[in-house]
Symmetry: C2
Subunit: 216 residues, 2 copies
DNA sequence: GTAAATTGCCTAAAAATCTTAGGCAAATAT
DNA sequence: ATATTTGCCTAAGATTTTTAGGCAATTTAC
């Protein structure tokens, strides 16, 4: 019988396209088999199971996103860099909604550790080099930016801001202004200001990061 | 045959508990039937289908969240109110992860309009009364807070900040400090500052809101 | 209190998906 | 040209979703 030339890679890529078309949680081994005009069981030689397929799509999305982020960040600093990375996430989600959803797929710790998640955290941290933040504030800021990027994009994609004025593009621009202002004028810790409490926030930290599917 | 006393309400409540135990997307009519020791088909008299069940769980979660928010906001203003509402979301997600996930369930526009989503938007807007923001900045800020709350909670729940220093509680407190500072010192629009551009950001807006499952 | 109407849970059954086991033929290596 | 590997297949069991129609328990009407 004619061989179609199935590969794990081709399946994952087709799965990512399928996700963009019908939504990540509508991605099914059966539908994928249908698209390759192949029996369902045939896929199980290339992919362990449905979960494995979804995990691989998630890893692909994380890589693509990190690649785009790295390209956007090259040669930029400060607010310019901040806006560039933010736009990468927003644009990617618009162009590839299924893949973006995949990037949020819950990975087991081992897989997450081996994913591109760490690159995302590093990129956010790189942006903060353009602002005068020291640890632990830098980590707090990394987490804040991560929360904001993810939250905004997922709300906008989910229609959370639909059809109401002002339009989302204006909001987006003003939000980036606001975040830039916040980072340039990051408030001192109340504990540090009071300079009285013992359990103050001066513990130096090393490996805390932020980004999709990684520990921040 | 003995009647168990199924009700739409009881099913939805049990579904919410099931979601908290096994995850919202593991909620299945079959499992629910099993828990009531009843045949699957019996549920279809009380719930239209699987999607209907999930929608009802989502609406329940949105109500519960709005109720908690309203209670927390009563008698508070400014940063106190900001922290109170933020903590409501974070605590609810921790206590009821499945319900919180349900609250993110994509509702069709009609259902979303009839949901408690609007209350969430109003609560966020109410907080901003403690800050000197006028439209359209107020709407931008509503959207920023909504993005941040949702993004932070979903990242923390997803393990995005796991096991790295500083701990998330410290980050949480410092983030609320930062957001408070940002709202007290909201940057003027670059367009307004320059006071030159024609398509400036001075359009008055009326019904723009933010909150889960509602238009912001 | 009994008869009639309603309602609740049931059996039965079709369609879809996921997954495993084992087989034959096509590609590849010797 | 033969031997080995590998790719896709058939077959089959388990789950889930959903619809249709039936009988008995409950509620309503007299």
């Amino acid at each position: 019988m004619a061989r179609v030339g199935l590969t794990t890679e081709r399946l994952v890529l087709a799965g990512a396209e399928l996700a963009d078309e019908v939504g990540f949680d509508q991605v099914t081994v059966s539908e994928l088999a249908r698209r390759f005009d192949v029996k369902v069981a045939s896929l199980y030689s290339h992919v362990k199971n449905s979960q494995d397929l979804k995990t691989r799509i998630a890893l692909l999305a994380l890589e693509e996103l990190a690649d785009r982020g790295a390209a956007a960040l090259a040669g930029r600093a400060g607010k310019d860099a901040l806006a560039a990375l933010a736009n990468v996430y927003r644009d990617y989600a618009r162009e590839h909604p299924g893949r973006y959803a995949a990037a949020q797929f819950r990975l087991d710790p081992a897989t997450a550790a081996a994913s591109a998640g760490g690159r995302h955290a590093q990129m956010t941290r790189a942006i903060l080099r353009g602002y005068a933040l020291t640890e632990p504030d830098q980590t707090h800021a990394v987490r804040l930016l991560g929360s904001f990027f993810h939250g905004y994009v997922s709300l906008e994609m989910g229609g959370g801001f639909s059809h109401s004025a002002p339009d989302t593009q204006e909001t987006w621009v003003r939000m980036l202004d606001a975040l830039d202002a916040l980072l340039r004028n990051w408030p001192a810790s109340a504990a540090a200001t009071a300079a009285t409490t013992a359990t103050a926030a001066t513990t130096a930290t090393t490996g805390a990061e932020t980004g999709p599917a990684s520990a921040h």
